[in-house]
Symmetry: C2
Subunit: 160 residues, 2 copies
């Protein structure tokens, strides 16, 4: 049996934005490191039914990234740039290479709740409601929730 | 007397987007080069009342950029990343350093009209209507139109 906290995944009623909110038993520094260290990131990102292979990773303001999600022998590429890497937030672009013209602007904010707990706010902005709603129908919540459950499990190993 | 073509600057009624459309007597290749060659870019970008100093420039997919606009002794910094640099389009992030939390996702598309003419479509996406409307009220059309008039003038020098 798998037991974990679900993330809140919400579509903004007036903007082409998806917002995800999730609490973690970790400091903002630990969460930042889990999102910027490529070896850690590859251990938790995405659904249980696959693995992440980092192709390129330069997690600093002005850097870029690329990884491949491998599942059942199929490979799916994702890539983007790091617009901002700060202690309190990451702003990055995101493209699924199967749809190379689609681009999301993602903002991750680490809200310190005290007592070693942090609320992660992840905002994904695209340029149409159709594109946004396609992501919501894609089964993304499985990847989000299984990924964050893996992140829960490894945070005790993350020093920051 | 200055005579030049005005750009169409439009606010989307339902999305937090500004769209700019402007025709040029140039090929898509020349326009791409005018947006990616730092020496050329510095010669035309922005209003007549200032100069552009390139601080960093790596105009390839996954690269980044930073420049300072100098006017009347005041300096204004701008920076971002290049998510995509392709023959038909550039996708980049854009931040005015005076408002470091604000980020726009800009998409420039070069539509070949034939006969050495190209229509530039520039789309700027932000995460709120308030932020979008603040840009529209900032006097941006002066910088856009004066900049594109300078670009008109130098395109005959641009080989591609």
């Amino acid at each position: 049996m798998t037991a974990f906290t679900s993330a809140a995944i919400e579509a903004d009623p007036k903007l082409p934005i998806i917002r995800i909110t999730r609490d973690f038993a970790a400091t903002p520094q630990q969460l930042l490191r889990a999102h910027t260290d490529p070896d850690l990131f590859a251990r938790w990102c995405g659904p249980d039914s696959g693995t992440v292979r980092i192709e390129h990773w330069d997690a600093r303001t002005g850097g870029s990234w690329r990884y491949t999600h491998v599942t059942d022998g199929d490979e799916y590429g994702f890539r983007g740039t790091f617009h901002d890497v700060r202690p309190d937030r990451i702003v990055q672009t995101f493209t699924f290479e199967g749809q190379p013209d689609g681009v999301a602007l993602e903002t991750l904010t680490f809200e310190d709740l005290g007592d070693g707990r942090t609320r992660l706010h992840a905002q994904s902005l695209v340029d149409s409601f159709e594109g946004r709603d396609m992501w919501l129908r894609s089964g993304m919540e499985t990847g989000v929730n299984e990924g964050y459950a893996k992140l829960d499990a490894l945070l005790s190993d993350v020093t920051a």
